[in-house]
């Protein structure tokens, strides 16, 4: 790392291509870690949250407890959650961050999936029943496809907030781009490093949001036809 060149520069610029060029490896690695953590967290959260939402949809009395529990998890500050997990899982392992991220993403996906499922019109459900669909057949062919807009909304919200949350992992050095942000602050308040991390972080969130929005549109062609 050509640390000297920065110190020679009298100013502390908000952005510097020199910094980006000299540290492209570090930046790419941080970006990769960030994207991986986000993807893993959202996928795991979705695999847990969608079945939970279906459970709440099938067994109404479970709706209250499931939503309340994930609501309480959501209220617990991210730093506190990390503090509960890290002593047991390891203070330098990305797994600690991943568990916290999954717990946060859960609520957003459960709530939106459930809202999507509850919006399936009663007549449609009756018609499916009349056509002889069983419980699982109806779920896979009728309920879940119709709930897709809700599920996609949940996934998008979860993804965008997870991208921002990953940075908290910087506390234990596993924060992806957060490591750049905090590293820049600790490294003599080096602005270019902080801003590069921030810009990439926001850009990653926007790109992933756009990808999911497009995927959602492609998955629900009937919604587009109805709108036009």
């Amino acid at each position: 790392m050509s640390f000297q060149s920065y110190r020679d520069d009298p100013g502390n610029p908000w952005f510097s291509w020199q910094y980006v060029r000299d540290n492209s490896d570090t930046i790419a690695e941080a970006l990769r870690e960030h994207a991986t953590l986000t993807a893993e967290a959202v996928v795991i959260a979705a695999l847990v949250a969608v079945p939970l939402a279906v459970l709440a949809y099938w067994i109404r009395p479970l709706t209250g407890p499931i939503l309340a529990l994930s609501g309480i998890l959501y209220t617990i500050p991210s730093l506190a959650l990390l503090a509960f997990i890290a002593p047991y899982v390891g203070t330098t392992r990305a797994t600690s961050v991943l568990i916290a991220l999954v717990l946060y993403a859960l609520l957003l996906i459960v709530r939106n999936t459930l809202a999507g499922l509850n919006q399936v019109p009663a007549e449609v459900r009756d018609a499916a029943q009349g056509m002889g669909y069983g419980r699982f057949g109806r779920l896979l062919r009728i309920d879940l496809p119709l709930a897709l807009p809700g599920i996609m909304t949940g996934l998008r919200l979860a993804t965008v907030s997870t991208v921002a949350l990953v940075t908290v992992g910087a506390l234990i050095g596993k924060g992806g781009l957060g490591d750049l942000i905090l590293g820049g602050f600790r490294n003599n308040f080096y602005r270019a490093e902080i801003v590069t991390g921030t810009v990439l972080c926001v850009a990653l969130a926007l790109v992933l949001d756009l990808v999911l929005a497009t995927a959602g549109r492609l998955l629900t062609p009937w919604a587009r036809r109805r709108a036009s």
Partner: protein, 243 residues
């Protein structure tokens, strides 16, 4: 297990009175945490409420309100916490308060806007018919009817700020998060208990604020409006949650 159980350590840590009363102990940090949070929420209200009420009154800017909450959702808290001290705000608590206020704005703004928009158009027409001016309609009709929404937004924002204020410790900004960060600095063998104890304190504070403000929200909501409107307001705010 060779090392002492972290929970045991945490209990020991919490039971040491010096950890509470020392300079930089729990009581000091709690004071800082509450002061930073209160100032941030107050600043957020000062900006978001007039703007939200006014936009709601005009019936314009709904897109802007949604956009603001979407954009702030994507900005990492620690980015603002590290960038603001390097601007004219300088180091210390001031940049922390401003950073937290930025994240308090979306729920406050969205609920103020929705609260005014949800006012029965007939009530507004009646007020107009009685000869009230635009500003009078806002102050005497729309504002009182929007109070349940304002309270819901306040609760969401305050809980979020109290939770996020823990991150101020990343930039040495004080607050209860400082206890957790210091614990991580000590390493897991000696600091494990302190990390857990700090986490417990932060989580308890957030849940306490949530419960207390839920009570306030109930009290300021007129009885006929309680169930359906309260829930609608929470839904309006839900899109902007996150710590």
């Amino acid at each position: 297990m060779i090392a002492e159980d972290p929970i045991q350590q945490a209990v020991t840590w919490l039971n040491d009175p010096l950890n509470w009363t020392n300079p930089g102990g729990v009581l000091d940090r709690l004071g800082e945490h509450l002061w930073i949070s209160a100032a941030a929420v107050a600043l957020g209200c000062l900006v978001a409420w007039p703007l939200g009420l006014w936009l709601g009154h005009l019936g314009r800017g709904g897109g802007v309100v949604v956009m603001i909450s979407n954009v702030t959702l994507a900005i990492p808290t620690i980015a603002l916490l590290t960038i603001l001290p390097l601007t004219f705000l300088g180091f210390g608590q001031r940049p922390v308060i401003v950073a937290l206020a930025v994240f308090a704005v979306p729920p406050l703004l969205a609920n103020a806007y929705t609260g005014v928009r949800e006012v029965d158009p007939e009530a507004r027409d009646a007020a107009r018919g009685m000869g009230l001016s635009g500003l009078q309609v806002l102050r005497r009709v729309e504002l009182p009817l929007a109070v349940p929404y304002l309270a819901a937004g306040f609760r969401t924002a305050a809980v979020q700020v109290v939770a996020t204020a823990a991150l101020a410790s990343f930039v040495n900004g004080g607050g209860l998060g400082q206890i957790i960060s210091a614990g991580f600095g000590l390493g897991i063998a000696t600091g494990g208990g302190q990390i857990l104890a700090g986490g417990l304190l932060v989580a308890l504070l957030a849940l306490l604020v949530e419960v207390a403000l839920a009570g306030v929200e109930r009290v300021v909501t007129p009885r006929p409006l309680r169930r359906s409107h309260g829930r609608a307001a929470r839904r309006a705010a839900s899109a902007t949650g996150g710590a």
